[in-house]
Amino acid sequence: MNSQLRRAISAALLGSLALGALVGCGEDSQSGADSKTVTLVTHDSFAASKAVLKEFTKETGYKVRVQAGGDAGAAVNQAILSKGHPQGDVFFGVDNTLLSRALDNDLFTPFTAKGLDKVPAALQLDRAEHRVTPVDFGDICVNYDRKYFADKKLTPPRTLEDLTKPAYKNLLVTENAATSSPGLGFLLATAAKYGDDGWKGYWKKLRANGVEVVDGWEQAYYDRFSGSAGGGKGDRPLVVSYASSPPAEVADAKTKPAEAPTGVATGTCFRQVEFAGLLNGADNTKGGKALLDFLLSKRFQEDVPLNMYVNPAREDAKLPELFTRYGTRIADSATLAPQKIAKNRESWVKTWSSLVL
């Protein structure tokens, strides 16, 4: 191509790049890496009230910049890949199913956040070293469509055992354990209940009883489940979702019903705990520590349920009425040690795939 044309277009390209850089700088100087800004790296379902974050700025002088990417699993893996050159100062959103992977990779610097004494010991999974701070917890449970079971005059299932009974044949839809975190949680619930080998037999029974597997939570909940008001056209009255899904179903109703349209099978739950930690190599360590303290403060903790539909880690944080009225407190959720999950996760998922898919 001729040289004049080339020059003209190169100039245009460089011009547009330079323009981009200029606009970018203009923007970044307000929110960039100066010491008055603290950056929170997280997954894309993180949410907090703007008012609460403003309060943090008022108290400490630090402005919070949120940097999110992908789902929880992808966000953790991103953080591990960018170790040493972290994208920010604090990471929020590593849960107990991925905790060991993060800790083994030395992602975090130990720090004991204020208010940890108000967090139940069962949630403090790194109690010896304090590399991570528990911030919230939720339960992955089978949800049921109240209307379906009332119409059929059938008692909804309560336990994992129930799900294999003929009465509930072809009613359950769950998610792929390889690609979806509720799917994995449900697999872990069965592994916790039936042991390292027993869970396989359980899934064979579940499969014989017509469990359906779809790839993600959105498809399971909105397309296949009959109880969600949003999609609501599915024909499966049982779905693997969260204990907080029923309150979410009524959250926006103008006239609040006596009970949520969906319920929770309390004997099918797996507990998920989410942690935050100070990233190794953070630019703003001081700000990061202040932010961790704030994440455990009562103010932030009481803001958590309505923003992310999980329970605050602090015992003394007050739950909103939506949760106390329509939510279910799960007393006996299944749990597994993070080390055990890390060790078996891959082989279990592989075995599960060959058994169920």
Binding site: M1, N2, Q4, L5, I9, S10, A12, L13, S16, G20, S31, G32, D44, S45, F46, A47, S49, K50, V66, A68, G69, G70, D71, G73, A74, N77, Q78, I80, L81, S82, H85, Q87, R101, N176, A178, T179, V213, V214, D215, G216, E218, Q219, Y222, D223, S228, A229, G230, G232, K233, G234, D235, S241, S244, A248, E249, A251, D252, A253, Y309, E346
Partner: protein, 537 residues
């Protein structure tokens, strides 16, 4: 050629090489043994086989369904043509999660087909193939139709005057002229379906996986970088083979053509055969493209108290109520348009330069460069996204938190479209025109401005339309690098869809409808600009 080459080296080759190297080099030692292990794993071979045949089948089906459409859009004039052309491009920008669930509503249990004929196509390969046609229809209609509209129909007429039958006139005159554009469109569709991700996950259920899906699982979920790296290389090899095949088959086919103003080639259909063709194409578009889109619109309006704008109003109040999760729809639209505009500028500059260079130079090196430009389409978004993250994190290129990453990643996907749409047209420009102008004393710049630009103006508009649409809808790479305070529409939709509750679902549908309107509106505006300008020539 230097600019596009540098662009690709820095924003594609380097990040991808970085992430692949990270997977294959452990503790300072190369682990090539891993390659053999993964490649010979029967599971990998299964995935590879499925990936290949569904892509071939999808491409064939898309061509079969969309080529008549390309003809109709190129040659016939009918009311609402511009609008319809914009509408068929909408699927292209929709997040697959959203479009997939609309498709399920039609094909799945309790869907339209199920109610009418008791037919269910979900978790079947048919659903995947049809969805691929839905997404890629526009690729064929816009790129093949773009060239078709500019072919002089008088050439075919001349052949018929000389005694050729309608069919043989078409086969000998029009088909050879169209072949490069058809091949280019087929290549694009093939690359898109070969790397299909969301469609496979939603409509295929967990049993089907493409290489792209497998790479995503290994990288984002399992963090098994060695396996992901090998799978990335396998995907590269397959894509490279396809590109080589493409280059080999079309190399000799491109020739100078008489290119005319598209405004003069289209006319009202005449005769029953042409009317039947027009109605047939309209019926296919209505069934395959408009119906799923209509389902989404219906869902966005079907609120708790009957039909209305509840969800749209909720979008506003949700943003006011002040969570970081929520974003005002106007803001998301603004972000999307801004990113897409910048990405389009990048893509046009880089792709335009590349296409110009490719037209003027020949030789093995140039062909290699041609293929290189297509590689981003064959590379998984997660590889690029993670690659950006680990490669562009140190000065002088510390772009970890820069907004410019988003349009850069989007432009990567846009460039191949620009090159592919402009190349057949640029190559079709009769070289003698340029020479004549030069002989008459025009400077090279003026030759380009007065000869090439008017002739390729339409191709530039089509290319810009593609680059813009791709950028508007891009989700895979954007989600990894987008700043949460400035989410694009697809990212905002995904956020709403990830939450339980009727309102969240409705808001996701409402935002999807807004995305459709923004896309259709922008494309109409783009076409308008082109029409105004081509009127001058």
């Amino acid at each position: 050629m230097a600019v596009p080459l540098a662009f690709f080296a820095v924003f594609f080759a380097y990040p991808v090489a970085a992430i692949v190297t990270r997977g294959l080099r452990v503790g300072g030692r190369w682990r090539f043994g891993r390659i053999a292990e993964v490649v010979t794993d029967p599971a990998t071979l299964d995935v590879l086989w499925f990936t290949c045949w569904q892509a071939v089948a999808s491409t064939a089906l898309t061509l079969a369904v969309a080529l008549p459409g390309a003809y109709v859009f190129a040659r016939f004039d009918f009311p609402g043509k511009g609008l319809l052309r914009a509408v068929v491009t909408v699927p292209f920008v929709l997040p697959t999660v959203v479009a997939g669930s609309a498709f399920l509503a039609l094909l799945g249990r309790g869907g339209l087909l199920d109610e009418l004929w008791g037919m269910r196509l979900d978790t079947s390969v048919w659903a995947i193939l049809l969805a691929h046609v839905f997404f890629n229809y526009a690729v064929v209609v816009r790129s093949v139709g773009g060239l078709w509209a500019q072919l002089d129909p008088r050439q075919e007429e001349a052949a018929r005057v000389l005694g050729a039958s309608r069919l043989s006139a078409w086969r000998r005159v029009t088909l050879p002229a169209l072949a490069p554009a058809v091949a280019a469109a087929a290549l694009m569709v093939f690359l898109f379906t070969f790397t299909s991700f969301g469609v496979i996950q939603i409509l295929g259920g967990p049993r089907y996986a493409t290489l792209e899906v497998a790479i995503y699982r290994e990288t984002a979920q399992l963090l098994d970088l060695p396996t992901a790296a090998v799978l990335t290389l396998v995907q590269f090899a397959a894509v490279a083979a396809v590109l080589a095949l493409h280059a080999w088959t079309v190399r000799r086919r491109e020739s100078a053509l008489r290119i005319v103003d598209p405004g003069r080639t289209a006319r009202r259909p005449s005769g029953p055969a042409q009317w039947a063709l027009l109605w047939g194409v309209l019926a296919v578009v209505a069934l395959l493209i408009v119906t799923p889109l209509a389902v989404l619109v219906e869902r966005s309006l079907n609120g708790p108290d009957g039909y209305g704008f509840t969800y749209y109003e909720a979008l506003k109040s949700a943003a006011d109520s002040g969570g970081t999760f929520f974003v005002a729809p106007m803001e998301a639209i603004g972000n999307s348009l801004r990113y897409a505009a910048v990405a389009t500028v990048f893509a046009l500059a880089v792709g335009g330069l590349a296409a110009a260079a490719l037209t003027r130079k020949a030789g093995r090196l140039v062909r290699g460069f041609d293929a290189l430009l297509m590689l981003p389409l064959g590379t998984s978004a997660v590889t690029v996204g993670f690659g950006f993250l680990i490669a562009l994190d140190e000065p002088p290129l510390d772009l970890r938190a820069s907004w410019v990453l988003v349009p850069l990643a989007q432009a990567l996907v846009g460039v191949p479209f620009v090159v592919r749409t402009m190349l057949p047209v640029l190559r079709a420009v009769d070289h003698r025109l340029r020479e004549a102008a030069a002989v008459l004393g025009a400077s090279p710049w003026r030759v380009w401005r007065e000869v090439d630009l008017p002739l390729v103006g339409r191709a530039v508009a089509v290319a810009a339309g593609f680059a813009f649409a791709v950028s508007l809808g891009e989700f895979g790479a954007t989600v990894f690098i987008a700043r949460p305070d400035q989410p694009t529409l697809p990212v905002a939709i995904a956020r709403f869809l990830g939450r339980a509750g009727q309102l969240s679902y409705g808001q996701a549908m409402a935002l999807s409808t807004i995305l459709m309107l923004v896309c259709a509106g922008s494309l109409l505006a783009l076409e308008r600009i082109r029409t105004d300008r081509s009127g001058e020539f």
